[in-house]
Symmetry: C2
Subunit: 333 residues, 2 copies
DNA sequence: GTTAGCACTCGGTACACTCGACTGCTACCG
DNA sequence: CGGTAGCAGTCGAGTGTACCGAGTGCTAAC
């Protein structure tokens, strides 16, 4: 473990580096609050911190820069959580007061809110429909051979699937299948649907079976929805254009983003730094996440992505506040 | 107008510059096919082209670079439209053979297809629902004070709006409103709905009125859907990171993208170069667009966005092919 | 244990210089 | 008279050198 003085020095280095993006030298650290020793002493301590892997020197005659391990220590030993500046609190309040409309609209707007608050890229993973209650389910005829299965859930989301119909399923079959499914599925939980008994009519049962199959498996091309806001800020975070490109490429793959966030949450982390994200192209990035709830149940995840030298206290505060407010909002309906 | 030789020289400069991104000198042009004069003659002609505003010199001792006017002439005087390379044709065929599922999924995938074909950023604007036929319309109760209006259209799209209910509207009112709207709106065109007569029950009529209002105005926070694919390629197109940031910022504003494309189409253009786009941050960008149809009716727009020095013939060919295939696909159902 | 002092390292900047890819001009040629 | 070869001139990019300054590690003194 680090003694108090080493910790203070490390903290000063991280804070200064986050601020200036320049390697920080012993003189700057000695001038920082919380460190009341001379630059020479700081140098000695920094040499130790470097030996222990918390800091590194870009070149011999430069200041020190935090390593992943250094950032990790920093976030693990933050003093009491920082409060958000009033301006941001107001922005959040104003946002949740103003935003109405569909869930998806709101989540997309939330990702932009996160981005605005932190100057990073905001990410919002929509609630999985697993535990939503079916409020309505119906088949709608589109053409002679295709119908659309539309399911409406208690959380205001709508799920739809195209169903191919065998020739000859007439309007009445579609109506029968709709009625049958409504009778047996309305009020049940999406992923805990009871078995639906046969109707006796083979063609109707076929339609029902196709519908249930569509609902059952989450097809590969319909990943959970994820909203990414403020990708443009990635272009400011790095000066290596190649890094920007790689990160954008990742953010475009919704499935990857979803599993990335889920993975971090599953490991019980709030912050993933560099290689902790498990993705090589994100080696220079860090991710701050928080789950949000609906009626007390873990529903989805929000987070921000930025360079490893991001303002962690601010990001943590923003993500926490937004997650709370979002939970409230989605719970009250 | 330009004489044949000047045109050939301009063409050679544009093609070479698109290829190399380097200012091109008289020697290169003289070596190009279609130009059979000495570098000295080329120099004379290029001086003329510069005076006429088709070319410019970054600095005295450098080669020439096309201006906006130069690109414009180039695309306006393309020889017969270039065919797509076989590899791309196969990719398109394979794509439309493989892709199934919901319209939105497919359009999102199409934007990625465009991006892959051209190495630029792909954009797809979803069909406006204006001329779709209502297949089903229903109100679903979400809570004591909110219901969800769900409308299913013949093109497989679903529209939904949250409706706030005055206290006391019970389940039976919702059912009555649903039945009433179904009876009068099913089979009608979205934006040409006939007036719905009163039911006689004030509370039911109130629900119907709220529903129609929600359907009627396209609210500001629900712009037409637009899918953008391959934003990461923007980061390769420019080396000025600031340009990348500005362009990404534009692409994040769905509303801006939609009106940008619409504007270009409305002006009867297929290609908008630099300031022709009407957006200052896109001064270094060009946009290639094409509309697509559903059953012969203009439905939406696709396009690619890239740097002004993009491969125009390739982009035009890709956009045209994809637009045709997409029209076929959406028309056949 | 802490600190002042000092020699040393090394990236960044400024500057001079060269190199090479251009151009525009002029004179010549068919 | 249009086209071409030759030539002087321009200017950016690349290179070598010197210098400066921020920052370090070490040592000796407090």
């Amino acid at each position: 473990m680090l003694d108090e003085r080493k910790a203070a020095i490390l903290r000063a280095v991280v804070e200064e580096y986050i601020d200036t993006a320049q390697p920080v030298g012993s003189a700057h650290v000695a001038g920082a609050s919380g460190v009341d020793v001379s630059p020479a002493t700081v140098r000695n301590e920094m040499a130790g911190l470097e030996a222990d892997g918390y800091l590194r020197q870009p070149h011999t005659s430069a200041g020190r820069v935090p390593t992943e391990k250094g950032y990790r220590f920093f976030v693990d030993h933050l003093r009491e959580p920082v409060r958000l500046p009033n301006r941001s609190v107001d922005e959040v309040r104003e946002f949740f007061g103003r935003t109405h409309g569909e869930v998806e609209q709101m989540l997309a707007a939330t990702s932009r809110l996160l981005s605005n608050l932190t100057n990073l890229t905001g990410v919002v993973v929509a609630p999985g429909p697993a535990d939503a209650v079916v409020r309505s389910i119906q088949l709608v005829t589109l053409s002679a051979t295709a119908a659309l299965l539309v399911a409406v859930y208690s959380d205001g989301t709508v799920e739809k699937h195209t169903i191919e119909m065998p020739d000859g399923s007439g309007e009445e079959r579609v109506a029968a299948a709709t009625a049958h499914m409504s009778a047996h599925l309305a009020g049940t939980v999406r992923d805990a649907a009871p078995p639906v008994p046969a109707t006796g009519d083979a063609a109707t049962d076929d339609l029902v079976a196709r519908s249930l199959a569509a609902l059952g498996g989450r097809p590969d091309d319909d990943p959970e929805h994820v909203f990414v806001g403020g990708t443009a800020r990635m272009a400011q975070a790095f000066d290596a254009i190649e890094t920007v490109r790689e990160v954008l490429a990742i953010l475009e793959q919704q499935f990857v983003v979803v599993s990335l966030l889920r993975d971090v949450i599953d490991r019980g982390l709030h912050v993933a730094i560099g290689t902790e994200t498990g993705m090589a192209p994100l080696a220079e990035c860090a991710l701050v996440v928080a789950p949000y709830d609906i009626e007390g149940e873990r529903a989805g995840t929000i987070g921000v992505l930025g360079p490893t030298r991001m303002n962690y206290p601010q990001a943590l505060a923003a993500v926490a506040v937004v997650s709370n407010r979002l939970s409230d909002r989605l719970t009250e309906g």
